[in-house]
């Protein structure tokens, strides 16, 4: 506790409670440091769009980029880059889609179907090359989401935390 804060005797009818003030100032200082830390972590992506949030998975010529930390109703891009496949089939668990609304899938011109608890998207390519597929999703529920997408039977694990 600070000692350089003057203690005085006064004649005003006033509830000063200096010890309470001292405690309050100390708590304020700690909380201000907390605010600073939160601002710093936000800059690093604790609430999305930053180093802490960005995830990249690479497997057998396929690259997946997504955000770990999402915000309620803030659109997110699940970006896939696939090389050397003639047919690309994504299987997205329906349980995962409980948390999201699919806003848009690029490129268009795909086939969809629902099978065994998965929503499938199939893209056909003229010749094997590099393809980029974007799923724009809108988070509809808050909390932790963990799920496995299948891309041509390869498993990719996605983990999100959706802030309210």
């Amino acid at each position: 506790m600070r000692t350089d804060v003057e203690r005085i005797k006064h004649s005003i009818e006033l509830e000063e409670k200096l010890d309470y003030q001292l405690k309050g100032w100390m708590i304020q200082k700690v909380c201000r440091a907390g605010v600073g830390i939160i601002v710093l972590l936000t800059a690093f992506g604790l609430f999305g769009n930053g180093l802490l949030s960005r995830k990249k998975i690479e497997k057998n010529g396929t690259s997946l980029q997504y955000e770990r930390f999402l915000r309620y109703e803030k659109e997110v891009d699940i970006c896939w880059t696939i090389t050397g496949q003639e047919e690309i089939q994504f299987l997205i668990p329906l349980r995962y889609l409980d948390h999201f609304k699919i806003e848009k899938v690029i490129p268009e011109g795909y086939e969809t179907a629902i099978t065994n608890g998965y929503l499938s998207y199939t893209f056909k390519m003229d010749k094997p090359g590099v393809a980029s597929v974007h799923f724009f999703l809108n988070p509809q529920k808050t909390g932790n989401v963990e799920s496995e997408w299948l891309l041509n039977k390869q498993i990719f694990q996605l983990r999100h935390f959706i802030y309210p």
Binding site: R2, V5, H10, L14, E15, Q21, W25, V35
Partner: protein
Amino acid sequence: MELILRGATIYLFLLLLFRILGKHSLSETTTFDFVLLLIVGEATQQALLGNDFSMTNALVLITVLMGIDMLFVKLKGKYKKLDRLLEGTPLILVDHGKPLRGRMKEAKVDAEDILEAARLSHGLEQMNQIKYAVLERDGQISIIPS
């Protein structure tokens, strides 16, 4: 229910944040502080209303916010500790013409603020004409002349 949660969360968050930032004297409030408050209002609007811009939503939200505020006023009246926790306590900054530097530093008030309050409220010219200067709970500095 969601609307009540939204309203309560934003209310409590702002209450906490403004309490953490601490009171500083009203004379220190700048034009930019008011602009900042407007921005805070704009930023919270979306979180409070969501995608529902109906009049009912707005009316319910206003009622919820006013209701929470009324509740706090009642609780503060009943429980002194809560009142002190949320509003703070007054603080003497000048004692018989002597500025209490340690207190002023903690409260982020400088001698100029006190002299300004002394000039405005009593037309005083010097620090030694002040018996007591008190930083009130609402951030105003009240002056008791010698």
